[in-house]
Amino acid sequence: MSIDMAQFHQVFFEESFEGLDIMETGLLNLDMGDVDAEDINTIFRAAHSIKGGSGTFGFTAVSDFTHVMETLLDEMRDGRRQVTQPAVDVLLGSVDCLKEMLTAIQDEQEVDVASVAEYKKALEVELNGSESEEAVTDESSDVSAIESNTVNTGEKKWRIAFSPHTDLLKTGNDPVRMFRELGSLGELTITVDFQGVPDFYDLDPEECHLSWNLELVGDVSESDINDIFDWVEDECDMAIQLISDPVENNNSSTTEEQAIEVAPPKEVKTESTNNASPTNVAKPTKKTAQKPAAKTSSSIRVDTGKIDTLINMVGELVITQSMLSLVGEQFEMNKLDQLKNGLSQLERHTRELQESVMNIRMLPISFVFSRFPRLVHDLSSKLDKKIELVMVGEHTEVDKTVVELLSDPLVHLVRNSLDHGIEMPADRLAAGKSETGTITLEAYHRGGNIVIEVKDDGKGLNKEVLRAKAIEKGLIDENTNLTDKQTYELIFMAGFSTAEKLTDVSGRGVGMDVVRRNIQSLGGNIEIISELGKGSTIAIHLPLTLAIMDGQSIAVGDERFIIPLGSIIESINIKESMINRVAGRGETFRLRDEYLPIVRMHEIFDVKTVQATKLTDGLVVVVDGQGMRCGLFIDDLLGQQQVVIKSLEANYRKVEGVSGATILGDGSVALILDIPGLVRLSNQ
């Protein structure tokens, strides 16, 4: 039976990365003075699982590497070895190394064999003080394995005396099973010995009192026989005796032959283990081009409670459906109440079902937060700062996509707080603060949004410095009057960096504008609150899900479009006096003190059935896309509704000004407008 092991690889990678995260968290939380055995055990278990899995699924390089880690952890767990900071650092390094190895294997890339060897060496040095011992023991065990396989062949006659201890049956072992196996090796003669059987009245049927004499004739080696009795070695008395050898081989030559035969395979074996890592891991890189699809498949781990709710909901739905079909079978007007009742139940269940399905995609934000203890640990020691990381609301749930895309921006913000926000310990003491700075990561729900705050009690943003810097960089004019909020937002401008000198931690000057753009592309926004000397808070507001959104449906001729509700500011009827036509730049209209460009929707989307072509006949919807505003000229506003977003790119191709599509209640398709894209279009 051949089974394609590749089908389990994805799950293996997922659980291994999870295990590595557990190891990392565990190692970071170890308190050198007072090590909790259970903590070490948890770390050990994670390493052990990765080792077992990688061995089984053929990733020998990974299992070899984890083996050394496991040995080290095992000694720590048993108390044979002291847990020291250097050892923990080596283990942390190994966790990183394993992550890289597994990522490389998953992406079918080449593993950096040299760096793996370096980490392994560091582990071995930590383990033995040298790197050679391990190799020696490995070899010797290989030899014994080979020995048992390469013993000379030919017909032999064995006599086996087998007398099990009385408790043999209690471990589920059955002599009959072992005899059956022996019988499969050659011709077996069984003689049973009843001598040990007690009187009937003393007999305990759960005990074994029989013993056996067996004779086996066949091409069988002693190790073949030992293998069968391997499990019961300690539960029986056994003697194996060779009665007659094959005619071709006389006794005296056997030992000599054995010695000769053992030597060459030993070399072969060691050679092949040396080769094992490159051949197993270093898959040709050309493969990556062929199989990009394998990587895109993503999966999600769902709490069983959520699935149960879902199944429950489906059950309710089925009941409602059968009730409705009963009503429908022979409908009379007096059943109208029943029908209405059923329909309202159906509506409720559908809504609940939708909620619980959406819930499945929700992951706790701890998936993102969990990488920060390590990051803060590493960076603070690099910068010689003392920092405590506090995480609040890690269980707040958010859509999987948001979780994945949130990671990088958050890393950037935390790095910034560490590098620019929190002062050096001496400066903090001088400012009357505690030596240790605090960075707080907090997540909570507010309305339909999730809010994530990165808070520090560092020096805060200096408005004067920000302003001077922006003028120096030519980002603003010297006479520009800015509110506090606008001043803080200067840091989001491209090319702005306040660090006096660039460090490799942060401050390359390309960061914050990218962060803001990423957040905005997720449909969120970002704001800063800061107080000089007290610290800063950066808050990210994001929609809970990207799969469903609140939309306003609008009409342009026969076509229906959806505008994301959040980007609509107001809808107005405009008068002729408000309109300005700029030569070569299209039309604008004046809204209070602002001139906004007008986008004629029917022209952009080429709608022939449009009703209003005169600006004063239709409606103008004022929308905001990433800080830029414009007026969309449309026929009519229809209703507000929740829409399920379907990807246009996946089903058709990317269209400028359109972010996706949805299916309306009547089955027709409506395009969802990409407001920033439309604003860009209107500017062209």
Binding site: M5, T56, H67, E70, K170, T171, D234
Partner: protein, 120 residues
Amino acid sequence: MASILAVDDSASMRQMVSFTLKGAGYTVVEAVDGVDALNKAKTQKFDCVVTDVNMPNKDGITLIRDLRGLPNYKFIPMLMLTTESGMDKKQAGKAAGATGWIVKPFNPDQLLKTIKKVLG
């Protein structure tokens, strides 16, 4: 066909064991740790138990010891999945009542061969 309880906290290993045994026609129920396994073993009688050793909540050896205490599981074969480095584990497992072991890493064929051996 015989029913087997497959216990492992690692999803990939559990799936591999379960898939292999199901493919050979056995009925397989999966459990994620010793506590889960013990609960399942109490509601249904299995003909064989295959368990990982290192698991949270209840490890495989304790599980085997607990199962042996149940009348239904006094004599049924129970195998542990263990790594080569775990010689002391084998001893501890035997003392707890394990029938035998399958050494990790193993492939589906080795697993099937061993299961066939104990189930006849």
